[in-house]
């Protein structure tokens, strides 16, 4: 039964995504403001002007596990940020704690450079595997924050509590920090250690806010519709339980 409900939900989301993408080509939607993402958008432009570097950390979520979706959201954001800052004197660096993710980050950056017609500036060493265990990943990424003249740190993906080490290192360097994670424990840490945290599903909204892709914006609206569907289902379930049907 649960497989069929899952199948129905995925089918509904797929249809909505395709329909919204077609519809939203003509009328782009407007979103509520998210302070952290507005600052990130500004700092991407500033990084090119003042020749500083962006560091995008994608977490340690393997693509074969549940954390993979957050990693994909991080890769989509990396694609936009790398395209916008590829012409900077100091190109962006992406770090990750999973080998597959590191390979994909290199490929994503190459695509971004190609889109910005600056493929000759691309270096594979800017997509790095910084460690293979949670803490070795954090420890491997920390020197980048300190030594590579990073002005903006974006930590987005599947992290655990070890993200506190990275947020602390970013704060010591007085760099702008935008962080979002899929794991509730990491979200609590981010809330305690950053000025403007990305809470809950806001991390999946980041690519839509930073880029101009119509399909990204459509997917935001699909999430909103699905949220209402879930709310209606929860209320219906509670009502049925109240009258003794369930």
């Amino acid at each position: 039964m649960s497989e069929l409900i899952g199948f129905g939900l995925i089918l509904l989301a797929s249809i909505l995504l395709l329909v919204m993408t077609i519809l939203k080509r003509k009328s782009p939607p407007t979103f509520r403001g998210i302070a952290a993402l507005a600052r990130l958008k500004r700092s991407a432009g500033l990084a090119v002007e003042d020749g500083s570097r962006m560091h995008i950390s994608l977490g340690r979520g393997s693509l074969l596990t549940q954390g993979g979706a957050a990693s994909f959201a991080g890769l989509a954001l990396l694609r936009h940020l790398a395209e916008q800052t590829s012409l900077s004197d100091r190109p962006p660096i992406a770090t990750s704690g999973d080998a597959t993710l590191a390979v994909l980050s290199q490929d994503t950056m190459r695509s971004a450079y190609r889109a910005a017609t600056a493929e000759e500036l691309y270096k594979a060493s800017n997509g790095r595997l910084s460690g293979l265990t949670p803490f070795s990943y954090a420890a491997g990424a920390m020197p980048i924050l300190r030594d590579e003249q990073v002005s903006t740190n974006v930590l987005i993906g599947d992290f655990g509590p070890e993200i506190a080490l990275l947020t602390d290192a970013a704060e010591r360097e007085n760099a702008l920090l935008v962080a979002g994670a899929s794991d509730p424990a990491a979200q609590a840490v981010i809330f305690a250690s950053t000025t403007e945290p990305l809470v809950g599903e806001e991390l999946f909204a980041a690519p839509a806010y930073i880029g101009k892709d119509t399909s990204q914006r459509a997917s935001m609206q699909v999430q909103d519709i699905l949220r209402w569907v879930v709310i209606a289902a929860l209320l219906a379930g509670a009502g049925l339980k109240l009258v003794g049907v369930l």
Binding site: E3, A70, F72, A102, D107, S125, A164, Q223
Partner: protein, 211 residues
């Protein structure tokens, strides 16, 4: 003539097969078998990617040493440890497992535990700084709830848990507001993950050398 890339077609087909295998596997056994086979292939490819990743790590640190960048001594230590462990793993014969266990138990575990301890201090410090950075209602609520939950979990000598707080307020907070809030967050994340997954499945996002 417009060049058509085969990569998205392959990625979409395999993604759909695995998804259908997961959802309709109990009804169509062939799809289930295909799902397991393709997932095993993915694990093998991930294993190969691990070698590429370690190669990348090696080359980044080798470049740091060559350029005599700041912290290159640590890079040298990393490379020596990496090569030493590799040699040990390849050449130690029958005692290999024992040596590898020793390396994990004597080096990796203590270092990770030390970092975990450091994390506790970092978090306490971050919580104190939180009030200076953001002194709004949400911050006060966050710190207050963290304090209440920590106090409720404390077990004192002779008394045990603090009366009322440990046996009534703490469990009630855990069962209702905390569980409700966490579920709300998880539902939001799950919906985001679902839509992100579909975007990759439909090749709207192509993190594999696409657009």
């Amino acid at each position: 003539m417009k060049k058509i890339s085969l990569l998205p077609v392959i990625a979409m087909s395999i993604g759909l097969l695995v998804l259908l295998g997961y959802l309709l596997g109990p009804f169509i056994p062939l799809l289930n078998a295909l799902r397991f086979e393709l997932t095993q292939w993915a694990a093998i490819v991930a294993g190969a990617a691990l070698l590429v990743g370690v190669g990348n790590l090696f080359s980044v640190h080798l470049t740091k040493i060559r350029r005599r960048e700041k912290g290159s001594a640590y890079s040298l230590l990393l490379l020596v440890s990496l090569l030493g462990t590799l040699m040990l793993g390849v050449s130690a014969g029958a005692a290999r497992g024992q040596w590898m266990q020793y390396m994990v138990g004597a080096i990796i575990v203590p270092v990770e535990v030390s970092l975990m301890a450091l994390l506790a201090v970092t978090l306490v410090y971050a919580s104190i700084r939180l009030l200076r950075r953001r002194s709004d209602g949400m911050t006060v609520l966050f710190l207050l709830s963290a304090l209440v939950m920590l106090t409720a979990a404390i077990s004192l000598p002779f008394i045990g848990t603090i009366p009322m707080l440990g046996d009534w307020i703490g469990p009630w907070l855990n069962s209702y507001p905390v569980a409700g809030g966490a579920r709300g967050l998880l539902i939001g994340v799950a919906l985001g993950a679902l839509v992100t997954g579909l975007r990759v499945l439909f090749a709207m996002d192509r993190p594999y050398g696409g657009k």
